[in-house]
């Protein structure tokens, strides 16, 4: 069926309603951090994967679980440890008895086949297991014993990592970081938020999340996001942002030339544009504005910037580099 303007408008209204519902439901359980929640939902509706970074105990796992509960999707959690094997993630062939006296190998699906996957402390898994995760994230399919299994959509992996304890961890390589749509930072809550957290978690009332939308709705919303238009000027701005992250580019600001070794890949631009489309829909528009791109540039680009030695020694935050890029890049 060819969509009409009226049907698209109805879908856009549903998108806003769905987004608001999820935000409200998450807000019942997860206190504060509105920007983090919005970015997580945008990432989810764009069918991207997010790397959530923050100290332990700030509710990273709770956030992702609440999201899956609010949309009636299958959820799987993988606690990554050094002895976690790829087969524990993807699944493997097991010898099962199908009939009396008849045994055969059957593929047993791993947690990666859930709609929402939480890879807790992904940097504690070995590179081999990380690679299994990341291949599934990128390809949206798993190959076991030569047989490829498709992963159902919607599919989003939310990986967490703890920036403090680095001993015994395997930091994600840059190539794998690039596969995350957004990198989201969980901030330490303020006094008001902490008080609210205490009130909710130490009382006898438990917050319940009401699931409302299913996988079909999420798929439709993801399709709608991709239909949003972006004009040439906004596209060029996104590309200029990406170009400006490269120290060898003429248009890059001084801070990039000084502190950056490698800049963002085209995936960065893809993530920015898709996320900006979702923001545009939320704002009631059917086209991307340049302000949308500026809003989503930090979570889309910061983890794609590889600092050089000087940048790491001086603890120059990638976020501040992206902020400078956004400030110094002209609309043109």
């Amino acid at each position: 069926m060819i969509p009409t303007p009226a049907s698209v408008e109805a879908q856009a209204a549903q998108f806003r309603e769905c987004f608001t519902h999820l935000r409200t439901e998450i807000g019942r359980v997860f206190v504060g951090q509105n920007s983090l929640v919005d970015h997580l939902l945008i990432c989810f509706f764009c069918q991207g994967h997010a790397l959530i970074e923050g100290p332990p105990g700030l509710g990273k796992t709770l956030l992702v679980r609440t999201l899956s509960d609010a949309v009636s999707l299958s959820f799987a959690r993988v606690q990554c440890t050094p002895d976690l094997m790829p087969a524990d993630v993807t699944g493997t062939n097991l010898l099962i008895e199908t009939a009396p006296g008849l045994r055969e190998f059957a593929f047993q699906r791993g947690p990666i086949f859930a709609n929402v996957v939480l890879a807790d402390e992904i940097n504690r898994a070995t590179p081999r297991t990380q690679a299994a995760f990341l291949e599934a994230m990128q390809e949206r399919r798993v190959t076991v014993f030569g047989i490829t299994h498709r992963i159902d959509e919607p599919f989003s992996v939310f990986a967490t990592q703890n920036p403090i304890e680095m001993e015994g961890t395997y930091p994600l390589p840059e190539a794998q970081l690039d596969r995350f749509f957004f990198k989201l930072i969980v901030q330490v809550p303020g006094l008001e938020d902490l008080a609210e957290i205490m009130a909710r978690t130490t009382g006898d009332r438990e917050a319940r999340v009401t699931p409302r939308f299913g996988a079909e709705t999420v798929r439709a919303m993801a399709g709608l996001v991709k239909q949003v238009k972006i004009d040439d000027q906004a596209t060029r701005l996104a590309l200029r942002f990406v170009r400006a992250t490269h120290p060898e580019a003429q248009e890059s600001p001084d801070v990039v030339k000084q502190y950056v070794r490698y800049g963002a890949s085209p995936r960065g631009a893809q993530a920015m544009i898709l996320a900006a489309k979702a923001l545009a829909l939320l704002a009631g528009r059917f086209h991307v504005s340049m302000d949308d791109l500026r809003t989503v540039a930090p979570p889309a680009l910061s983890h794609r910037i590889i600092r050089n030695f000087q940048g790491e020694m001086e603890h120059v935050a990638p976020d501040s580099i992206v902020a400078r890029i956004v400030a110094e890049t002209r609309d043109g």
Binding site: I2, P3, T4, P5, S7, V8, E9, Q227, V228, K229, I230, D231, D232, Q233, A234, A283, R285, F286, H287, V288, S289, M290, D291, D292, D331
Partner: protein, 392 residues
């Protein structure tokens, strides 16, 4: 109400129900407004510059009032044309207009996206165009492209004012200073004369060529007003007979030679300071003559410049009856009351009538700018020279 009336009264063209056309129509209207605003802005700057240049040219050349008016008007008109052409040349394209509108009104790319997707048939594109058209239709061109004065407008106006004052000042000074003699309209001459005309002595004297037969002589001669049959002038031209002439012949600065200007020049040092180029000497000389002449008291002012020290040989004061010329640019050819008596016989009635007639014709010729400014002193000098004793 017609569509055009509607857009004139409030905002951009009313929606026609075809968003694609609406978007393009509205953007065309905005573009026209942008061109108009640019043209006005450029015109303000260009006209100011054009007027200043025209007035500067008038000052430098020493044109008549009428010619100055024509020059200034022409300059302004030319600048206006250039500004308009420049505005049209630099007019934004439709997509640039849309981007400007988005940026100035915070439209979040509504206009540019609508323009880009105008004509597309998919549902989302239709919505983009519809939203853009609605927003454009609600806008007012003056909001998008308000008229703003150029940032340097005060400086431009000050420049125009200064140039105009200088020009008018020259006219007024000339008019007030010489009822009978040359009301030189040339502000340049007034200015130059006041400050120290690059005058005859400047041009003529500074020229080291002995005899000053060339330009310096011309300069000196040009500066010689009617009374300039006096020895110094002649000597200056010939380059020998007087100390002043000596000074000039030896290349000393005119300022070094004390010059006594009879017939009323301004300060002598005003007419001496620098060596002007020969080509300008004549003008400057006349300028000095015109401006300074009428202001001096009857009987002449003895204006002595610094003498001797630099020139070395210019110690003596020279009596130079430089009754400075009048009749520059439309002025009357007034007789010089300070002339010395001579022994020539008086005119007969017929000669007097003839003289009077020729005088009037010359005066009319001067008034109509038929005589170049540089030659007007000659005319006056000629008539003064042929006067009879009784007329003096």
């Amino acid at each position: 109400m017609s569509r055009r009336k509607a857009q004139a009264s409030s905002a951009l063209p009313a929606l026609t129900g075809e968003p694609d056309h609406d978007v393009i129509d509205c953007l065309r209207m905005l573009r026209s407004r942008a061109i108009w605003v640019m043209a006005v802005r450029y015109a303000v700057v260009a006209v100011a510059i054009g007027v200043v240049i025209a007035e500067g040219t008038a000052l430098a050349v020493g044109t008549s009032a009428r010619a100055t008016l024509v020059l200034v008007s022409g300059g302004a008109l030319g600048a206006l044309c250039v500004a308009t052409l420049w505005a049209v040349w630099r007019a934004p394209t439709l997509i640039e207009t849309a981007q400007l509108a988005d940026r100035r009104l915070g439209w979040q790319n509504h206009a540019s996206a609508a323009l880009q997707f105008a004509g597309a048939t998919d549902a989302v594109a239709r919505l983009v165009v519809r939203d853009g058209a609605a927003r454009l239709a609600r806008s007012r061109p003056a909001e998008v492209f308000p008229f703003e004065y150029p940032a340097r407008l005060p400086w431009l106006l000050a420049g125009v004012l200064a140039a105009t004052s200088l020009l008018l000042g020259g006219y007024v000074r000339a008019t007030m200073g010489d009822g009978a003699q040359a009301p030189s309209g040339s502000a340049a001459t007034g200015g130059a004369g006041q400050r120290g005309s690059p005058a005859a002595n400047a041009a003529g004297v500074a020229d080291p060529a002995p005899g000053a037969a060339g330009p310096s002589a011309a300069g000196a001669s040009a500066a010689q007003p009617p009374g300039a049959v006096a020895p110094a002038a002649t000597a200056g031209a010939k380059g020998a007979a007087s100390p002043a002439a000596d000074a000039s012949a030896h290349g000393s600065q005119a300022a070094d030679t004390p010059v006594r200007h009879e017939g009323g020049t301004g300060p002598a040092n005003a007419s001496v300071p620098t060596a002007a180029s020969p080509s300008t000497a004549a003008d400057a000389g006349s300028a000095s003559a015109v401006t300074a002449g009428p202001l001096s008291p009857a009987g002449g002012v003895s204006a002595t410049t610094a003498s001797g020290a630099a020139a070395g040989d210019g110690a003596g004061t020279v009596d130079s009856t430089t009754a400075l010329g009048g009749g520059v640019r439309g002025g009357t050819l007034a007789p010089d009351a300070t002339r010395k008596q001579d022994n020539r016989p008086a005119f007969t009635a017929r000669e007097r009538a003839l003289y009077r007639g020729e005088w009037d014709r010359a005066q009319a010729a001067v008034a109509q700018d038929r005589i170049p400014p540089a030659l007007r002193p000659y005319v006056r000098a000629y008539f003064e020279a042929i006067r009879s004793a009784g007329q003096r």
